[in-house]
Subunit: 670 residues, 2 copies
C-alpha cells in the first residue's frame, strides 16, 4: 500500500484536495449495530453465542500462553478443549446417533468464532474433532462411528491425523508409510520404511493422543493399492504403543499449546477392521474392493474430507483478521499523534489519509471474505449433509474451499502485520495481542495445503474443466491435458466463455464497456473481475499449449507459466468473493446498514481493481485517467467509511475479554 | 508477488514459453565466491571477521532464547554483551581517549554483522553502546566522556536511553517529563508530571541499567527551553534509585532478552553537570545558553544523534533479510517436491518459476540495499568523524538514514515472511530460525522512528529543499511552507529539476526516451527512477499548494495528500539505492562476478519499475507492450540467476553455527 501513488486529473483539477462533488447530497449512514451484528452472525447466531460464552469462560488461557511452562500450557489447552467439549459445542458436526446434530454448517461457524480465542485451543480442537474425528466420520463405516465417535466427541479419546511426512509435505500421493495386509492373521502391518519417512508435525502426537488415523500405502501381496487410512493406537497408559516411536516436533513459532510430534511405525499390527473402509475395503482373504474404480479418484475422494479443514482454516484466518482490525481501528480512533491546530489536541490517527488507506481496504476485504465464507459454509453443509452430493458440485466445492482458504489466510497474515505496525510499539507488547496473533496464524498459509499449491489446484480445475480424470492429474498431467486440446475446446469446456457472455450482458457498449460505466456501477465491477478471470484462463491455456507444441518439456512449460497459473486462482476466487458480497448486499432491504455495506463493497471491488490496475491497463481495459479516478474514488470511500469504522469492527462481536489489548483500547481514558 | 500476472505479446509470440532469443550467445557466469565475499565485506572486513568470531563463540544464545526462563535469558544476554565488550568490538566507535578507535564506520559494520546473531544481543548492544553511550558521546562534553565512557564501553556501567513516553511515541518534541532547574542547590529536579507520562519501552531499564540518559523539557524559572538530555542514576545496588519507580514493560513479541521497562521520576535531584551540555548549558545562576539560536533547530541537532541508530537498524534489518534468504534459497536448492519425469526424482523447488519469482527479486533488492548501506555507512562515518560536517551534508544524511532505515526494515519484514512461507511447515519450527527472526525483527519497522513517519521526513526535506527552518517544522508547517511558494520555486529550490535534466542527458530522444531505450540499458533504469521521483515531488507540491489556496485546512490538505507524500519518500530512497548499486557495479573490473552483480542490478531495477508499472503507465512513461516485456525480462533474469543463487547467498558469509536450520540445509543428506 505504501507505494501506491495518488492521482491528479489531467485537467489540473484535483478532486483529492477538494471536497468531492458527489458528496454533496450524500447522507452519511448510521450503523444499526445490533442489526449488523445479527446479519454477520447469520444462521448460526445461537452456535456463535455459545462459543462466545465458552471463549469468555476460558479467556485466561490467552494469558497463560505466556505465563505457563511448555508442557503445563499444553495440558491446560487440552483441559480447555475437554471442558468446551462438555458444553456440547464440539458435537455439532457429528451424526445424531452419536449425540451430534449433524450440522456441518454449525461446526464451521463454531470453529470460525473460536478464531477469536487462543489459537492453540482452536487448532487442537481442529485436530481432535475436525481431522481425527472427521476422518473416522467420513472415511469410516457405522461400526467405526459407534466404536469411536462418542469418546472422540467428549474428548475422552484424543487422537491424531497422521498424514504429512517429513519428506512429503504437499505431495500426499507420494508418501512412504506402508500398511501391508497379512491374510494369515487378518491384520495390517504398519511400517515406516526409512528413517526419514516419519509422520511429521502431527498434532496431539507428542503428548496427548492415544490413537491416530494413519495414512499409508496399502500393499496386498506385494501390490500397492495407493494411500488409505487406518486407525492405529499410538499411546497406551501414557507410553508409546509397542512398535511406535514418538518424538516431540519441538518448539514452534506459535501454537505451542498443540503437542505436535513425529511418529515412526515398526511392524505395528492392527486388525483388518482398522481400515477406514467407506471407499475401499480388503476382504479377510486379502481381496481389494472399492466402489471407485480409478485409484487416483479414490485417493482424491478420500482426500476430499480435507475440504472441511480448509473451509475451517480460512474461516478462522478471517476471524484473526477481524481481531487485528478491531484492535488497530479502535486504537486509531482514540490515539492522537502530531499535528494539531494551535491549542487543539493532537490529531487522531484515523483522521490521517494514509492511516485510512492502510486499514479500511483491509476492513472491506474482511467483510467480503466473511460473506464469501458464509456461502462456502452453506455449500459445504449441503455437500456433507448429502443435500447436494453430485460429483461436479463436490469438485467445485473443493476448488472453492482451497482457493478461499488461500485468499483468506494470506489476507490474514497481511492484515495482522499492517495492524501491528499501525499500533506502533504498543502493538509489539504481548499483552496487546498481536504477538500471539502473528505467531499462531503464521502457519495458516501452509497447513491444510500450502497456499501456492492450493491456488494451482484451483487453476487446474478451471483449465481442465474439472475433467473426470482431473483428480489424479499432477501438474504435468495438466500441461499434457491442456496441450492435447484445441484452445477453443478448453475455453468451451471450462464454462469460462460464460464469463465473457455475462460481461456483454452486464455492460453493453461493445468494446467500450469498460470506459462508459460509472466507477461505482456494480456491473462494472463484475465485468472487470470476470474479464480478468476469463482472459487469464484462456491466456494460460494458450501458453501451455504453445509451449508443448514447440517441443518444450512439460515441466519447463509449467515452470514458465506457473505465475500465470497462480494468477488464475487469485482472479477466480476474488470473483467468487465479489459475487458473494454483491448477492448479500442486494438481498438486504433498504437501510443505513445496506448503505454502509455498499460502501465496503465498493471499496473492496475498487481496491481489487486498483491492485490489478497495471494488468487492466496492459490488457486495454483501463485508461490512465480512469485508473487515477479509481484511486481518488477509493480515497473518497475511505473518508466516508472513517466515521463508521468503529461500529463496523464492533459488529464482529468479539468479546472484550478475549481482545485483551486493554492498553490500546482504553488509551486516554485515564 | 502472487498476483502478478505474466504477459503474452500482442503478436502472439510468447517468449515466456520459448527459449529467450538473447540467451543465445549469453555466457553463464561463475561466481568467484572469495572475491564476492570480500567485495561485500568491503573496508571493514577485519571488523566483520571479529564479529563473526564473537557470534560463533556465543552461538548457544540462539538456542538459549528458547530454553532459558525469561530473567535467566535476560541475564545471559547481558553476559554475552559484556563478554563481547571484552573483545574490543564495542569500543570501535568511541573516542581514542577512551580506548576506542573513533571509527563510526567500523561500529556500524560491526552492528550490521551482529544482525546475523541473536537479535536480543544486538538490540541490547545498540541500547548500551549506540544509544546510551552514543548520547553521552554526542551530547556530552569531555568531562562526561572521561567520567562515563570507559565503563560504558567495557559494559561495567549499563545504561538506558530514556526518550519515548507512553503518550508520545513518534512526537518527541511533545514529551512531558520535566527537568526544573533549582538555582539554590544548583540541581535539576526530574519529574514525571502525570501517571501516563512514564518513559516506556526503555531498554536496560527493567533489570540491568544503573544510569539513564533522560530526555525532558528543561524549565528554568517557569520558562520551558525545550527537550534536553540528562544523566540520571536509576538503580543503585540493584534497587531503584530514590524517587525512581521502575516497572517491567512486560513480555514482547520478540527481543525478550532485552529488559525493557517503564520509568517514573518523582523529584529526582541531579547536579547541574548532569545536563549533557554540548549544544546547550545552564549557568550556575540559572541562565540558559546555547550556540544554536532556534529552539527547534537545537532540538533537531540533538535528535540528529538518532541518525546513528537509524543507520544501524536499517543495516541489521538487511542482515536479517540475508539470513532468511540464505535459508530459503539453500533449502529450495535441495528440497524436491512434486513433478518428475517418470523415474526421475521430484523437481527442486528452486526450479519452479514461481519459486524463483518469490525469492530472487528479494535477493536482488538485498544486494542493492547492501551497497546503499555501504554508501550510507561511509557518509555517516564522515559526518561523525568531522571529515564532513556542514549542515546541508548532515541534513541530507539524516534524510538518507531515515529513508534507508524504512526501506530496509520493510524489506526485511517482507523477505522473512516470504522466506518462511517458501520453507513450508519446516519454516515454522523454532529450530529453523524463522520464528526468532520474525518475532525479533518485527519492531524494526517501528523503533528508531516509525517507518511511515520517517518516509514523511524524507519527503518533507525534498519538498522544502531542506529549508533552514525545516527542522522545527511539523507537517502542517510543511504544508504552509509549500503553499507559500510558487510551485516553480519549490521545484527550483529542491534540486528536483536536476533530476529531469539528468534524464534528458541520459536518454536523448525528447519525449520518446522511455520507448526507445533497451530494457537493460542502465540509463533507462535511472531515467525511470528519476522521472518518478521528480514527478511525485512536483505533483505533491502542486496539490498541497492548491489545497491551501482553495481554503482547505492544512491538516485536511495533508491528510488527503499524505499517501502522495509518502510515495515521494519511497521513490527518492529507491533512486538512491539504485545509484549506489550502479556506482558499485560500474566500479568493478570486468569479471564473472561483475556479470552476476549486473544481473542482480538489472533485476532490482526492473522489479522496482514493475512494482510501479501502473504508475508509469498512468503517467505516460510505459506502454502496455513494454510493460509486459519487462515482466518477461524479469522472468528471464530469474532463470539466469537461478544457478548462481546458492553462491550469491553464501557470499554473505553467515557462519553456519548461527544459521541453525540444520534440518533445512542438510535436507536429503541422510
Amino acid at each position: 500500500m505504501a507505494t501506491e501513488t495518488p492521482a491528479t486529473t489531467e485537467s489540473g483539477k484535483d478532486p483529492a484536495t477538494t471536497p468531492d462533488d458527489h458528496e454533496t447530497g450524500y447522507l452519511q449512514p448510521e450503523i444499526d449495530l445490533a442489526a449488523l451484528r445479527s446479519l454477520l452472525d447469520g444462521d448460526y447466531a445461537e452456535v456463535r453465542e455459545l462459543v462466545r460464552k465458552n471463549l469468555v469462560e476460558n479467556a485466561d488461557v490467552l494469558e497463560e500462553a505466556e505465563t505457563l511452562g511448555h508442557d503445563e500450557f499444553r495440558d491446560r489447552v487440552r483441559d480447555v478443549v475437554v471442558s468446551v467439549a462438555g458444553t456440547g459445542q464440539t458435537a455439532l458436526g457429528f451424526p445424531k446417533a452419536q449425540g451430534g446434530s449433524n450440522s456441518t454448517g454449525g461446526a464451521i461457524a463454531a470453529f470460525e468464532t473460536m478464531g477469536f480465542g487462543d489459537l492453540s485451543v482452536l487448532v487442537k480442537m481442529g485436530v481432535q474433532f475436525g481431522l481425527f474425528g472427521g476422518a473416522i466420520q467420513n472415511l469410516g463405516n457405522e461400526e467405526h462411528h459407534a466404536k469411536y465417535l462418542p469418546d472422540v466427541i467428549s474428548g475422552k479419546l484424543l487422537g491424531c491425523f497422521a498424514m504429512t511426512e517429513g519428506g512429503h509435505g504437499s505431495n500426499v500421493q507420494a508418501l512412504e508409510t506402508v500398511a501391508t495386509y497379512d491374510a494369515d492373521s487378518q491384520e495390517f502391518v504398519i511400517n515406516t520404511p526409512t528413517e526419514s519417512a516419519y509422520k511429521d508435525y502431527i498434532g496431539n502426537a507428542a503428548r496427548h493422543g492415544e490413537m491416530a488415523v494413519v495414512f499409508a500405502q496399502l500393499e496386498i501381496d506385494g501390490k500397492s493399492e495407493g494411500v488409505h487410512a487406518f486407525v492405529v493406537p499410538i499411546r497406551i497408559d501414557n507410553k508409546p504403543a509397542p512398535g511406535v516411536r514418538i518424538e516431540d516436533s519441538g518448539l514452534k513459532m506459535g501454537l505451542n499449546g498443540v503437542d505436535n510430534g513425529r511418529l515412526w511405525f515398526d511392524g505395528v499390527r492392527i486388525p483388518r477392521t482398522a481400515l477406514l473402509n467407506r471407499f475401499a475395503d480388503v476382504t479377510p482373504e486379502g481381496v481389494y474392493e472399492s466402489p471407485i474404480e480409478s485409484p487416483g479418484r479414490r485417493f482424491f475422494t478420500m482426500l476430499g474430507t480435507l475440504v472441511l479443514g480448509r473451509v475451517c482454516i480460512g474461516a478462522a484466518g478471517n476471524s484473526a483478521a477481524k481481531m487485528a482490525l478491531t484492535i488497530a481501528i479502535k486504537y486509531a480512533d482514540r490515539r492522537r499523534q502530531f499535528e494539531s491546530a494551535d491549542g487543539e489536541p493532537e490529531q487522531l490517527l484515523l483522521d490521517y489519509g494514509q492511516h485510512q488507506r492502510r486499514l479500511l481496504p483491509l476492513l472491506a476485504k474482511t467483510y467480503a471474505l466473511h460473506f464469501a465464507q458464509e456461502v462456502l459454509t452453506d455449500q459445504t453443509h449441503k455437500a456433507f449433509s448429502g443435500e447436494n452430493d453430485d460429483e461436479d458440485y463436490r469438485r467445485a466445492l473443493e476448488s472453492r474451499a482451497a482457493g478461499t482458504k488461500a485468499l483468506a489466510t494470506w489476507h490474514s497474515t497481511r492484515t495482522i502485520q499492517e495492524s501491528r505496525e499501525a499500533c506502533g510499539g504498543a502493538g509489539y507488547m504481548s499483552r496487546n495481542r498481536f504477538a500471539a496473533l502473528k505467531a499462531d496464524t503464521d502457519v495458516f498459509t501452509t497447513f491444510e495445503g500450502d497456499n501456492t499449491v492450493l491456488m494451482q489446484l484451483v487453476a487446474k480445475g478451471l483449465l481442465t474443466g474439472y475433467a473426470s480424470d482431473f483428480s489424479d492429474m499432477d501438474q504435468l498431467g495438466m500441461v499434457r491435458f491442456v496441450a492435447g486440446m484445441a484452445v477453443e475446446t478448453v475455453v468451451e469446456r471450462t464454462n469460462v466463455h460464460k464469463l465473457l457472455e455475462r460481461v456483454r450482458d452486464l455492460l453493453p457498449g461493445d468494446d467500450e464497456w469498460d470506459q462508459e460505466a460509472g466507477l461505482l456501477d456494480p456491473n462494472f465491477h463484475e465485468a472487470m473481475f470476470r474479464f480478468r478471470e476469463e482472459h487469464l484462463v484462456s491466456g494460460a491455456a494458450r501458453r501451455l499449449k504453445r509451449g508443448v507444441d514447440q517441443g518444450m518439456e512439460p515441466a519447463e512449460v509449467f515452470s514458465r507459466v506457473q505465475d500465470h497459473v497462480i494468477a488464475i486462482g487469485h482472479a477466480h476466487v476474488e470473483r467468487l468473493v465479489l459475487d458473494a458480497f454483491v448477492d448479500k448486499v442486494q438481498s438486504l432491504p433498504d437501510s443505513d446498514n445496506k448503505v454502509a455495506l455498499g460502501l465496503l463493497l465498493d471499496l473492496f471491488a475498487l481496491t481489487t481493481i486498483e491492485e490489478n490496475r497495471a494488468w487492466f491497463m496492459e490488457h486495454g481495459r483501463l485508461t490512465s485517467p480512469r485508473s487515477k479516478a479509481i484511486s481518488r474514488e477509493i480515497n473518497s470511500l475511505c473518508r466516508k467509511l472513517r466515521p463508521l469504522a468503529g461500529d463496523l469492527v464492533d459488529a464482529f462481536g468479539i468479546p472484550p475479554e478475549v481482545i485483551r489489548a486493554e492498553e490500546l483500547l482504553t488509551w486516554g481514558d485515564a
